[in-house]
């Protein structure tokens, strides 16, 4: 569904992504792990159109089997094509209510019936959101905000959901719950590209993974294989045998 080839991205004058290539197949959960500063957020922002690459391509296969070059489309159009980005730090609109945040997520949609169904579905997945529908998003706890951010991304009825460090700053119990929910979302047909510093949980959830180190992909393959890899173990998994 998504194919990135030799992507080079600069942020200001810093050379962040030095030519990475990766693929996400339909229905998969793919993880992108790496340390701080490796370029994970930059990768996601380039996919969703907030940043433009210096060189390289991002090919996306649409519902109708068309191939689009995402690196040439504006961010709004990319969302319209079914790519939903749940940003780093959640990025909920603190001054808007929970319901309004979800409305914002569905900004491009006009089908009232579909919207109502999706709203129901999001409330099923995250019942706490239904409870707090009229509260301002800023008053939610970290975990609730994370759920709101994911729910909001789902309101766009995406085919590809990209998540930037959903576990950031959350207690392990909540992280586990969120990742279980992500598995469920994937089971319902949404492809997921997940960026995480928390390598253990990411590798647990995903089918395949890429390891990003200072702007380059150093390792890729099935998540179970990567989790066993010696170098990865030492760098990201605490060096403990699994």
């Amino acid at each position: 569904m998504l194919r990135i080839e030799n992507l080079e991205v600069y942020r200001g004058r810093t050379y962040v992504l030095k030519g990475i290539s990766l693929e996400v197949g339909r229905g998969e959960i793919v993880a992108l792990i790496g340390a701080n500063g490796a370029g994970k957020t930059t990768t996601l922002k380039t996919i969703s159109g907030l940043l433009r690459p210096h060189r390289g391509q991002i090919a996306y296969r649409t519902e109708t089997d068309q191939e689009l070059a995402l690196d040439r489309l504006p961010a709004e159009e990319i969302v319209r094509q079914g790519v939903s980005h749940c940003p780093e730090g959640r990025g909920v609109f603190a001054g808007l209510t929970v319901r309004e945040n979800l409305v914002a997520g569905a900004y491009l949609r006009r089908d009232k019936q579909g919207l109502r169904e999706d709203f129901q579905r999001v409330c099923e997945l995250f019942p706490i959101l239904e409870q707090r529908a009229s509260q301002t998003a800023g008053s939610l706890s970290g975990g609730e905000q994370a759920m709101l951010a994911i729910g909001r991304a789902l309101m766009a009825r995406p085919r590809l959901l990209i998540l930037d460090e959903p576990s950031l700053g959350l207690a392990p119990l909540i992280v586990a719950r969120i990742f279980a929910l992500l598995a469920e979302i994937n089971a319902r047909g949404v492809t997921i590209l997940l960026v995480e510093q928390n390598a253990v949980t990411a590798l647990d959830l995903s089918h395949r993974a890429y390891v990003l180190e200072t702007g380059r992909v150093t390792l890729s393959g099935a998540s179970s294989a990567i989790a066993c890899d010696e170098a990865v173990r030492r760098a990201y998994l605490g060096g403990q045998p699994r």
């Binding site: 969302v79 990025g91 766009a156």
Partner: protein
């Protein structure tokens, strides 16, 4: 100092405040969405006043048509200012945006002088608006009543727009976090343009009212409303629409009441008292009445 006198002063203050509030709303909306001060906002007021003068007095068009044209003119000028002065400045430090809009304001004022000379023009509304009404101890002209009611209607419409419509959600989302708003598929350019257009329309209508209230207009008339809308918006908390409304009314009331209620020798000190009060408000509420706390960044 009778109750009737005080009520009269309060009514006068509210009428003045209505105009300030209308201009302050547009100002604060623009600040809220792009974090830049639009100093040329006051000049949209001036343009509204002159459009009214031209269409109403020189061409003799009916009042309702003139009002619609004023709304359209305001939107058009607002959009032009956005395109020329603000889109190239997006992301620049705040003072830079302030200076660019100040430059645009200077240009508009001086173009006005070049084309229309600095001579003040007289502004006369149709007679039925000039009639005096009496309600108990308070007297005012019909035009004053129209000003208040129109202002209230427009403010209500605006709040509905911002709170209940999809565009309104888009505007508020963009104001909170521009990048994340883009991730929702919100077209930032169009949302910002809409903000400038709405703000401009309101300011232009305020210009129509200003001409009617003060009877005289000139190309430099925009400076005062521009400054006052800045002050009113800041007092209310920049970026907050209800704040701007409150700020506008507070400013209007303060201006009138300080002159009306203090002994005459202090009248000349009016501006000092008004600003003194405003500074006191800011000392107690450093982010304005309804502004968001700026320390929450960490």
């Amino acid at each position: 100092m009778t109750g009737g006198y005080i009520t009269q002063q309060i009514v006068n203050g509210l009428i003045l405040g209505s105009m300030y509030a209308l201009v302050a709303i547009g100002f604060t909306m623009i600040y809220g969405i792009i974090r830049l001060i639009n100093f040329a906002h006051g000049d949209v007021v001036m343009i509204g006043a002159f459009v009214t003068l031209g269409l109403l007095q020189h061409l003799g068009w009916p009042f309702w048509l003139v009002s619609l044209c004023v709304l359209a003119a305001g939107a058009f000028v607002g959009l032009s200012i956005e395109r020329v002065a603000f889109r190239p400045m997006r992301g620049a430090p705040q003072v830079t945006g302030f200076i660019t809009s100040l430059a645009v304001s200077i240009m508009i004022q001086n173009l006005g002088i070049v084309f229309m000379t600095a001579q003040p023009r007289n502004f006369t509304f149709p007679d039925f608006l000039q009639q005096l009404l009496r309600v108990g101890p308070v007297s005012f002209r019909v035009v004053d009543l129209v000003i208040m009611l129109t202002a209230l209607v427009l403010m209500a419409a605006l709040i509905l727009l911002v709170r209940k419509t999809r565009l309104g959600v888009g505007m508020r989302a963009t104001a909170e976090n521009l990048d994340v708003a883009r991730l929702m598929g919100i077209n930032i350019n169009r949302t910002i343009m809409a903000t400038f257009a709405v703000g401009g329309s309101l300011a232009a209508v305020a210009g129509l009212m200003w001409g009617g209230k003060f009877g005289q207009i000139d190309p430099l008339l925009g400076f005062v409303p521009g400054l006052k809308s800045f002050v009113a918006a800041v007092i209310g908390g920049v970026g907050s629409i209800p704040g701007a409304i409150c700020g506008g009314y507070i400013l209007g009331l303060a201006e009138v009441l300080f002159v009306g209620l203090l002994p005459p020798i202090y009248s000349a000190f009016r501006d000092a008292f008004v600003f003194g009060t405003l500074i006191l408000i800011l000392l107690v509420l450093p982010n304005g009445l309804l502004g968001k706390r700026m320390e929450d960044r960490a």
